[in-house]
């Protein structure tokens, strides 16, 4: 769905590249991008979304180069949920916020409203349609931002730090949405620091380190590479570490797997 070749990018030429020599292909597997702050993760997804343009190399999205498309043209195909909901939210009611993107891709008002409400139901905000989004809690704002993008039904959905401020219930909602999108053959990508959430929800994991791809593979295989993870200052999920310390033969990703391995 996405092909990234030899991608390099810098904000200021003098400070050196933020990303350099990235080659990646994305299929429909749900994918987590992990790595330290400043590794270039957010910059990378902004490039995918066409908000930034590559200095070198190219990104093909469904065989079209992002260089030749505007961010507006890409909006139907690629949806990005911002890290900070306040960067995304600006309308006066929850419903208008969720409808904004839909109206911009020229959907009729009636259909847009239905789509928006359907998406808001997924995140349990359908009882707050008339509320001012700025009166929502941080976790609700984040869910609203997710719903606004899901409503647009793009083929590629990128979530920048979706679990910020979420409690157990909020994480469950997000996990459910990711599952449903995957069933609909969408590509779900996320930038995330919550390794337990990665282990439980994403098939593929890519580790960024200092603007380069350090590891890429099935989540289980990636979390098995203890030494390389350490180099990128990333830790495997707690349960994986516990199993490793106790000398388990296989890499464990969830509590259920751990219990099964013991019994």
């Amino acid at each position: 769905m996405i092909k990234v070749s030899n991608l390099s990018f810098s904000y200021h030429k003098a400070e050196g590249p933020v990303l350099s020599g990235i080659n990646l292909e994305f299929d429909r597997r749900s994918t987590a991008i992990i790595g330290q702050n400043g590794a270039g993760k957010t910059t990378f997804v902004k490039l995918l979304k066409g908000l930034l343009k590559p200095d070198e190399g190219d990104i093909l999205i469904q065989n079209h180069s992002v260089k030749l498309k505007t961010a507006a043209e890409l909006a139907r195909t690629v949806g990005l949920v911002f890290q900070n909901p306040n960067d995304q939210i600006f309308k006066r009611t929850v419903l208008e916020e969720a409808m904004f993107g839909l109206l911009n891709i020229k959907m009729g008002r009636h259909t847009a409203e239905n789509q928006a409400i359907k998406a808001l139901k997924l995140v349990n905000l359908d009882d707050k349609l008339e509320m001012n989004p700025h009166d929502l809690s941080l976790s609700e704002k984040k869910l609203l931002c997710i719903a606004s993008i899901v409503a647009m039904d793009p083929d590629i959905i990128i979530l920048d730090e979706p679990t910020i401020a979420q409690d157990h219930a909020g994480k469950k909602i997000i996990s459910q949405i990711i599952k449903e999108l995957a069933e609909k053959e969408k590509l779900v990508m996320t930038i995330i620091h919550d390794m337990d959430f990665v282990a439980e929800n994403f098939e593929r994991t890519i580790v960024f380190n200092e603007g380069k791809v350090l590891l890429d593979g099935e989540t289980r295989d990636v979390f098995a590479q203890k030494d390389i993870l350490q180099e990128a200052n990333v830790e495997a999920p707690g349960i994986t570490q516990l199993a490793e310390k106790l000398g388990f033969e296989h890499t464990i990703l969830t509590v259920e797997e751990f219990i099964k391995a013991v019994k």
Partner: protein, 281 residues
């Protein structure tokens, strides 16, 4: 010595129909590191804001009972007076940035300027916190050019520089990578060892279990429990409060393995490893 005393604290936001805080009472000793947990809208952020006076002075609304921080009754003192005793790091670091300063260095100086600290002392403290939070390399950057993680470190630095005896932090590491989050927890733990009192609202239960002396479990604006991490996370009814225990506790509970000689399940990686060693061949 009691650093914080809450007695029957009740609070309702203007126009709200239900109490955000409903008869909250607890006491915190000097130097304690308290974790505040509970599902969203349980009252964690509101309680944090009630410690520094934003509730009720900034938000207004209906208020009952009282909170004493270091002997000052919050309701009777201005936010400015309280800010000398207690500092708060906001949940969203973007909300905390003043927007009036051009560099990280000046941004951190903001609080210090406001309390009229002598220049030499100011410079010394800023350098200290830049180093503590590992953001020296961005000290001349514009705060709005920082990444989410750097911004959050700056927000924490700005408060620690004020050296308030009581630190209130609302999910201070939400934007940080695991290594960064660990660094910040260790730095805050270090401060609590030095005698600072810390109140932290947090969803990362593994961290709460590892660093906090006691845990305040909130539910619908009420105190559901206030006890050691081991006791709190070993509760059978924990899930009914929308809280999941650390992954180590969950696995030990499922296997029925408790800490030797106690009635509690392990809550940290180290304890779980120790408890499970004898059990797993």
């Amino acid at each position: 010595m009691k650093k914080i005393i809450a007695q029957g604290l009740k609070y309702k936001y203007p126009l709200a129909e239900t109490l955000a805080l409903n008869d909250i009472s607890f006491e915190v000793e000097a130097g304690e590191f308290i974790g505040v947990i509970g599902k969203n809208s349980a009252g964690k952020s509101t309680l944090c804001q009630a410690m520094v006076g934003l509730v009720p002075h900034f938000y207004k609304g209906a208020y009952g009972g009282k909170v004493l921080v270091d002997g000052l009754e919050v309701k009777q003192h201005s936010i400015a007076d309280l800010s000398l005793k207690v500092g708060m790091v906001f949940q969203n670091p973007f909300t905390q940035v003043t927007g009036s300063k051009m560099t990280v260095y000046e941004e951190i100086a903001f609080g210090l300027e406001n309390i009229g600290l002598p220049r030499d002392e100011m410079l010394k403290r800023i350098d200290e916190v830049l180093k503590l939070l590992k953001i020296e390399h961005v000290k001349d950057h514009n705060p709005f050019d920082l990444s989410g993680g750097q911004l959050q470190r700056m927000a924490i630095a700005g408060i620690i520089a004020m050296k308030p005896e009581i630190l209130v932090l609302d999910e201070p590491t939400s934007q940080l990578d695991p290594a960064g989050s660990d660094e910040v927890f260790r730095a805050i733990h270090e401060l609590s060892q030095q005698g600072f009192t810390v109140i932290m609202a947090e969803h990362k239960m593994e961290k709460v279990a590892q660093y906090c002396n006691r845990v305040l479990l909130l539910d619908e604006g009420k105190v559901a429990a206030f006890d050691t991490p081991e006791k709190i996370f070993s509760r059978d009814d924990l899930e009914s409060y929308g809280v999941t225990a650390p992954v180590y506790t969950r696995v030990c509970r499922a296997l029925g393995v408790k800490n030797a000689g106690t009635d509690c399940y392990p809550v940290t990686l180290e304890d779980a490893e120790m408890a499970l060693r004898g059990v797993i061949k």
